[in-house]
C-alpha cells in the first residue's frame, strides 16, 4: 500500500461543497431526469450551483443554496475522515488531468483506497474498459484477460465495478496491476453489493473514486454521470460487450465527445449481446482483439509485444484445445467431436484447465482462455 497521496484536506471547501450540493439535490435530479427523458445528467451537472439548483429545485432555491454555503469545512472533512475517504479538487496539481479540461467534469473527486497515488492516474496512462452487466462467458473471459494484460503493461484500468464486464476487467487488472473503480454512489459504499469482495480488493491495491460524498446512495441518474468521469479519465475507452442501448454505449459516446479514442471488441453478428459493440465498430471504433490492439493505439504500434504463452502441452491434448475452440463446451460434446473416449477427454480437459488453457463455468461449460500454446517442437 503506497497511499493515494491525498488526504481528506486536499480539496478546497468550495469544490467539496459542490459535491455536497449534488448529493443534497440527488432526489430532485432524479425527478427532473424522470420528467424529461431527453434531459441528460451530464448537461445538468455542467451548470453552476445556482443554475443547477434553479433547474431541479426552483422552489427551494434559496433554502438549498444558503444551506449549502453554511456547510463548514470541518463538517465535510469530518465526514471524509469518518468514512476513511480522501478528496482532491481541480485546483490541486494531483487532480487527474483528464478531468481538468472538460466543461462537465466534476470539480472534486472523493475517493477511498490507498493502492497508488491519485496523481498517477493520468489520461495518458489509463484505459477504460466497460461493457454489459449481463455478459456472456466469452465476454467475461475477454474482459478479464484484457484487463489483466493492459494492467500488466503498467497502464491503469478504469471501470465502473458493475456486474459483468466491469467486474471482470477489474479482476483481471487486479491480477497484474492497477485499477480504478468509478462509482455512482459515495466511494465508501460497495455497489452492487454482490461485488463487496471485489470492492475490498480494489481498496487494497487500487483506488475507488466518485464525485459524490461518502454515504450517498446510488440513483439512476448517477450512472450516466459516472460514465462521463470514466470516459474522461483515460485516453481510450474499450467496450467489450454491449447490446443496443446499453449504458456502455453512452460511455463510448461520451469518450468520443471528450476527444478520447473508442475501441470495441467484436462479437457474433447474429444476435444480442454484441450488437452494440459491432455497431460501434461499424461507426469507426477501433477494433480490439486483445491487449496488443489497445497498446498499439495507446502507447504506439509494437510498443509492447504481448503474447502470453502457456506451459508445454502434450501432443494428444492439442486436438482437445481445438475442439473447445470450435465450440465443444462439454466433455461429451468434445468426445463426440473428436471420436474419442469421454473419460480420456475428461482427463485431458482437466489437465488443460490446470495448465490454464481452458476455463470452466459453474454450469460445467468449458471455454478457451487467451493463453497461447507454445509451438510444437
Amino acid at each position: 500500500m503506497s497511499g493515494a497521496g491525498v488526504t481528506a484536506e486536499s480539496a478546497c471547501p468550495e469544490c467539496l461543497r459542490r459535491s455536497w450540493l449534488i448529493a443534497r439535490l440527488a432526489d430532485n435530479i432524479q425527478v427532473s431526469c424522470d420528467d424529461s427523458p431527453g434531459n441528460r445528467t451530464p448537461e445538468l451537472l455542467r451548470l453552476s450551483d445556482e443554475d443547477l439548483t434553479s433547474a431541479v429545485a426552483p422552489k427551494q432555491l434559496d433554502e438549498v443554496l444558503s444551506g449549502n454555503s453554511d456547510i463548514t469545512e470541518a463538517l465535510m472533512v469530518g465526514a471524509l475522515l469518518d468514512s476513511g475517504c480522501w478528496a482532491c479538487c481541480h485546483h490541486d496539481p494531483r487532480f487527474p488531468d483528464g478531468l481538468k479540461d472538460g466543461a462537465d467534469a466534476p470539480r472534486a473527486l472523493i475517493g477511498k483506497g490507498e493502492g497508488f497515488p491519485l496523481s498517477e492516474v493520468t489520461t495518458e496512462a489509463s484505459v477504460t474498459i466497460v461493457g454489459s452487466r449481463r455478459a456472456t462467458g466469452y465476454g467475461l473471459e475477454v474482459a478479464r484477460t484484457l484487463g489483466r494484460d493492459v494492467a500488466s503493461t503498467g497502464l491503469t484500468v478504469v471501470s465502473g465495478m458493475a456486474l459483468g464486464i466491469d467486474g471482470a476487467a477489474h479482476r483481471g487488472a487486479l491480477e497484474r496491476g492497477r485499477t480504478v473503480a468509478v462509482l455512482a454512489c459515495g466511494p465508501d459504499r460497495a455497489y452492487p453489493v454482490s461485488h463487496k469482495r471485489l470492492y475490498r480488493q480494489i481498496l487494497e491495491t487500487g483506488l475507488v473514486v466518485s464525485e459524490l460524498p461518502p454515504g450517498c446512495e446510488p440513483r439512476r441518474w448517477g450512472f450516466p454521470a459516472r460514465n462521463r468521469i470514466m470516459a474522461a479519465l483515460s485516453q481510450m475507452t474499450v467496450v467489450v460487450e454491449a447490446a443496443f442501448r446499453s449504458g456502455s454505449l453512452i460511455t463510448a459516446e461520451m469518450a468520443s465527445d471528450a476527444g478520447r479514442e473508442v475501441g470495441a471488441v467484436p462479437g457474433q453478428v447474429t444476435v444480442g449481446p454484441a450488437a452494440g459493440t459491432n455497431e460501434l465498430l461499424a461507426n469507426g471504433a477501433a477494433l480490439i482483439r486483445d491487449a496488443r490492439d489497445v497498446i498499439d493505439r495507446v502507447i504506439g504500434v509494437g510498443a509492447m509485444p504481448l503474447r502470453i504463452v502457456g506451459p508445454p502441452v502434450d501432443r494428444e491434448l492439442r486436438p482437445v484445445i481445438d475442439a473447445v475452440e470450435r465450440g465443444c463446451g462439454t466433455v461429451d460434446g468434445a468426445a463426440d467431436f473428436l471420436a474419442r473416449d469421454s473419460v480420456e477427454v475428461a482427463v485431458g480437459m482437466a489437465r488443460l484447465e490446470v495448465l490454464g488453457y481452458l476455463t470452466c463455468s459453474i454450469t460445467g461449460n468449458y471455454s478457451r482462455t487467451s493463453q497461447e500454446a507454445p509451438d510444437e517442437t
Binding site: S342, E353, T363
Partner: protein, 496 residues
Amino acid sequence: MLAETTAFTIDGISARPVRVEVDVQRGLPTFQIVGLPDAAVREARERVRAALVNCGYDFPLKRITANLAPADLRKVGPGLDLALAAALLGAAGEISTDLIRGWAFAGELALDGTLRPVRGALAMAEAARAHGNAGIVVPPENAREAALAHGVDVRSIENVSELRRLSEGIFPGERPAPLDLTRVPALPDMSDLRGQGLFRRALEISAAGEHGLLVVGPPGAGKSLGARRIASILPPLSGDQILEVARIASICGVGGGAISAVRPFRAPHHTVSAAGLVGGGSPPRPGEITLAHRGVLFLDELCEFRRSSLEALREPMEIGEVSIVRATGRQNLPCRFTLVAAANPCPCGRGEDDPGCECTLMAIRRYGAILSGALADRIDITLGVAQPGAEAMNGPPGELSADVRKRVMDARMMMENRYGSPRTNSSASSAETKAFEIEVGATRTLADAHLTQRISGRAHDRTLRVARTIADLDGCAVIGEDHMNTALSLRRREAK
C-alpha cells in the same frame, strides 16, 4: 362386560401399540370412543356398527365405551376399526375375550364387514412381536407384507364375520406366505443412454461411492433420462435394509405394497414444499428424503425448487437423519440418500453463452446462486452435458445396466474392505482421505490444480473422495493420475 385387545397407530415411521378397551354396560344406547382419537378413528363408530350388523351380529343396544390407551398418544387413521370391532364383540359376549386379549388387529372396515388394507402393516407386525402379542390379524392385501416379520403369527381374514370362529376357540384366517424379496422388477436400462460417456461414468461413480451428482445442461441433453436410470445400477439392498425401506414405504403408502431389493428412487416435483421434502406437518409425516432413505433423491430442475426447500435439505444430508420437533414431541427420521440433481444453465435452458439466450440478468443470477450455493457445495460431482450429436444418437446402445452394476458392486466391496464396515467413499472423513494411497503423479496433479485454480479445503477432500471411487471402480488400490484428473474434471467450479 369388558374386553380388550391391541391395535397400532402410526407415529412418524413407527407403529405404536394402542390398548383398545371396550366396555358394554346397561344404560342409554350410546357408543363413545375416548383416548385422543382423530376424526377417522371417531368415525369408526359408524363403520363398526354397520359392519357388525351387516355380518349378522347383534349390535348391543347398550352404553358402549371404547377407550384407547395410552390416552396422551394421538390415534390416527382407520386402522383401528378391526380392533374396535373385535373388542366390542368380546365385550358383548359374542366371542372369547381371552383369545383376543393376546392378539393384535389391524384393518379398516367396509360397511359390509370386508377388510380394507392399512398403511404400515409390516411395522405393525414387527411392533406386535415387540409388544409381546401372540399374533396379528391383518387384511388380505397386507398379509404377505406383514408375514415378512419373523417371530409373530400373522393371519389374514377377509371379513369381520370370520371372527365368529373365535367363539369356537379357533383362531381364524390363513397364514400367508411372506413376500418374495428376490424378485427384481424391470427397471429402465442404462443402455438407453447413447453417447454421453462422461455422464454415464459420472452416474456410475455416484452409484458406487454414493456421491451427490449435479448435472447441468440444456433440455434434451438426456439429464433426466440418465438420472432416472441410476436406480438400475445401484447395488441391491441387504436383508435388513429391505425391511427398513419397506417399513417406511408401507407407512407412507407408496409403492403399492411392492417390496423388493431395489433401492428407492424419489423424484419430487419442483413445487414441493420444505415440509413435503424433509418431512413435517402436524402430526409430523415423513418427507421425500425419508422415502428416499438408502436410495436416490432426484431433484429435476434444481434451480426451480423453492429456496426454503433446498435450504432445508442441507443439514439432513450431512447427518443422514432429520429431526422434526413439535410441541408434542420430537421425531428422528432416517434419510441416508444420494442426491442426484439436474438443472438447466438458465431458465430458457440454452445457457448464457448461447447467443440465443434471452434470460434476464436477474434470472441467470438466481440460477447461478443455486448452482454455487450451499447445497451445491455438498454435492461431490458436477458436470455439464450437451445434446448428443446425431452420430451418438444413431450409434450403438450403451453398456447394459447389469454390467455397470457389477463394477459398482465390486467397488463397494473394495470400500467395505477399506473401512471395515459397509460404508462408501462419500462418507470418508478428512483424516481418512489423508490415508488414501496416491501415486506421486496424481499428487502432483492435485498440487498443480491448487496452484492454478481456486480449490477450497472442502473441494480438495471432495476431489480425493471422488478420485478414490474412480480408482475403486477400476479395481486400483492406488489413485492414479488419470483418476485424479477425471475427479478434477467432475468437481464443482467457483462462480466467476
